[in-house]
């Protein structure tokens, strides 16, 4: 990692409906003694009862880029606020962006990839979605945003678990898992979880993202997976499903987002890269997130890849360990994804 990267300020995006617990979590971030200083960008002052000069109010401004691509949107207000904050960088160690309940997380995230100035000074750390365990089923019925926020998250804080029965809770969690098999889920009451679980996660840092999540795309096979509070992946591997894939948009009511998980062996780089390029160009508007670990034929390092709509980034992560299975895993989260076609074309990229 270069010096430029290490001095980039990490940015955490908090999404979630009104009442899900964003303010509680923000107040904890601002008041707890964790030795770090945060600049916080909010849509409205007021609810945060803390007087802090580093709380900045900003009007949500979604700007479409003039390049003919409808999914290329950025948050113009964030470009300006981040630029202003970064002119006096000594004041804080990290930035937290609180979005409104109805906010689309995509333009927020894309700002950190598409704007050169923002990108040079900051890095998107993680998108954290707060979910109200009691009201999520209702939210999913009446809006698409609630689903988008979960689909887009790296970390889901399933809050207010004390207000539901254990059965309701496992149902809600299964729903979240169905929308987003790649996210980490934490069950909480009063947003009470270690702040290290939401801050400085490096979820968009390709060299760290999957290292944090060694069981990426493995634990999702069992849907009623009994996660405990604080969800330490419990270590049992689910190997032996070669070329396993599945898509599940409809088994849970009110869920329109689907995920397509693909697995395969070593990929032919001459086939894989043109394929992923083409898929993201053609299916970009339907793809909310994609994440994957790719084994490339003749390459002794793991290749990690991630994307937001049409933006994809990939890099070598680390050498394959001795005895580690050279396996490729890729998950698409989005809408109207053709699972069969994705699987077929993915399989066709495998090295002979």
């Amino acid at each position: 990692m270069s010096d430029a990267q290490t001095t980039q300020i990490p940015v955490t995006v908090l999404t979630g409906y009104l009442g899900a617990g964003k303010t509680t979590l923000l107040n904890r971030i601002l008041s707890e003694n964790h030795g770090k200083r945060y600049a916080v960008i909010v849509n409205e002052f007021g609810e945060i009862g803390i007087d802090n000069e580093l709380i900045v109010e900003s009007d949500e401004e979604i700007y479409e880029m003039n390049n003919g691509c409808v999914c290329c949107t950025v948050r113009g207000d964030l470009i300006r606020v981040v630029e202003g904050l970064m002119r006096r960088p000594g004041r804080f160690d990290a930035i937290v962006i609180e979005t409104t309940g109805l906010a689309d997380p995509v333009p927020v995230a894309q700002t950190f990839f598409m704007d050169d100035d923002v990108r040079s000074k900051t890095r998107l750390d993680a998108v954290v979605a707060l979910v109200d365990a009691k009201h999520l089923p209702l939210r999913l019925k009446d809006s698409r945003e609630a689903e988008d926020q979960i689909a887009f998250a790296d970390v889901v804080v399933l809050n207010k678990t004390d207000l539901v029965t254990p059965e309701e809770l496992s149902k809600v969690e299964a729903t979240i898992r169905a929308i987003n098999p790649a996210a980490r889920i934490h069950r909480t009451t009063r947003a009470g979880l270690a702040l290290s679980e939401v801050l400085d996660r490096g979820a968009f840092d390709l060299s760290r993202a999957l290292e944090n999540d060694p069981h990426f795309l493995e634990a999702q096979d069992d849907h009623d997976h009994h996660d405990h509070d604080h969800h330490d992946h419990d270590g049992h591997d689910h190997d032996g499903h070669d070329h396993h894939h599945h898509a599940h948009p409809s088994d849970i009511h009110d869920v329109t987002v689907q995920s397509v998980s693909l697995r395969g062996g070593e990929m032919d780089p001459k086939k894989f890269f043109p394929w992923i390029e083409k898929i993201t160009q053609m299916e970009g508007p339907n793809i909310l997130r994609l994440k994957g670990i790719i084994a490339l034929k003749g390459d002794d390092e793991r290749y990690v890849i991630q994307g937001v709509h049409m933006i994809i980034e990939g890099d070598h992560q680390r050498a394959w360990k001795d005895g580690e299975k050279h396996e490729s895993r890729l998950v698409f989260i989005g809408r109207e994804l053709d699972a069969e076609r994705l699987k077929k074309s993915f399989d066709a990229c495998q090295a002979a």
């Binding site: 109010e57 401004e61 479409e64 390049n67 006096r88 704007d115």
Partner: protein, 324 residues
């Protein structure tokens, strides 16, 4: 040979200007430094975000994180002009008859010399502000175009549309053209008489600095490895004409431009801190300052046309004397 009197400050310089022939440097922390028989300091905003040099009144208008507007005059006298609540002031401008405009979120305010203030609400954020040199009229850069207001009357605003996010705005010195900087790497212009569009694109980076040459014959811009200078002497502006590319360097980007007050010469500041002066006629270059610590953010010529004040993102500011 030009000589440089350095002034090493701690922080991002938002504006380097001459007030009453004294160089002043406004930093992002709101301190105003000046070289006036030694280094002296005054305080304006608590967090300074935007600054505009008001040549007619020989003052610097600043806006900041504290929601306040200050007027800074020679000798470092900083006086609060207005306050607009807790939101950041993201853009300021000065106009005829002592009028000042400032933006907070989606509202543009105009404060007249007598202290009276008017508000202009917009459906989207006010990204940039500029007064027309003639008449009481100001322009707002916004998403999908620009809006012209007539604050002295109740005249209906004029909407100029062009898809995309417009972030900055300037009128030509004769008031005939309006030019905006955009979120994408381009400028857009309108000929105000007939609303004709002018597309000025092809920049590898965002354009953040614009400067009109004397009589508005040229518009110099940053955002490329050279100063891109568009001809505006024809009645249709730069349409169908190629811009000049001055001070081209292979390994650095131009971040600031400042046209000479009377001659067709531009001071060009780069992202490595170098400053050159380049003549339009033959593209002849003179090195004014070697690379420094940070990108040049602001420059201004003095009235005697002898000195250039410059500021940088890293705080290594100074004054270049070209007569020495």
């Amino acid at each position: 040979m030009p000589t440089v009197a350095p002034l090493d400050l701690d922080g991002h310089c938002v504006a380097a200007v001459f007030l009453g022939d004294v160089p002043h440097f406004a930093l992002a922390d709101g301190t105003i430094h000046r070289l006036d028989h030694g280094h002296k300091t005054a305080q304006a905003n608590d967090g300074l975000l935007a600054a505009f040099h008001d040549a007619a009144d020989d003052r610097l208008i600043t806006g900041g994180e504290d929601g306040k507007i200050f007027s800074v005059t020679a000798g470092g006298n900083a006086a609060e002009l207005a306050s607009a609540g807790k939101k950041w002031i993201t853009s300021v401008a000065a106009g005829p008859q002592g009028a000042v405009a400032y933006a907070s979120g989606r509202i543009a305010f105009v404060r007249f010399a007598d202290g009276k203030t008017r508000e202009f609400s917009h459906p989207r954020s006010v990204e940039g502000l500029a007064f027309s040199p003639k008449g009481m009229r100001f322009g707002v850069a916004r998403y999908n175009g620009a809006t012209l207001h007539f604050p002295a009357t109740d005249g209906k605003p004029v909407e100029l549309e062009w898809a995309g996010a417009h972030t900055g705005i300037t009128f030509s010195p004769d008031g005939a053209f309006l030019v905006t900087t955009m979120q994408e790497n381009a400028l857009h212009g309108w000929k105000l008489a007939d609303g004709k569009h002018m597309r000025m694109s092809g920049y590898p980076g965002k354009v953040k600095s614009l400067s009109w040459a004397p009589k508005g014959k040229w518009l110099a811009s940053s955002g490329a490895p050279a100063a891109i200078v568009w001809p505006f002497s024809g009645k249709d502006g730069p349409m169908g004409k190629a811009p000049l590319e001055l001070g081209t360097r292979g390994n650095a980007m131009v971040t600031s431009v400042a046209c000479h007050p009377s001659q067709d010469v531009v001071a060009v500041g780069y992202d490595d801190g170098m400053v050159m002066a380049v003549r339009f006629a033959d593209a002849k270059e003179v090195l004014l300052r070697r690379p420094g610590k940070g990108a040049i953010t602001s420059m201004m010529w003095d009235k005697q046309e002898r000195r250039v004040a410059f500021g940088s993102a890293a705080g290594d500011c100074g004054v270049i004397d070209i007569s020495a």
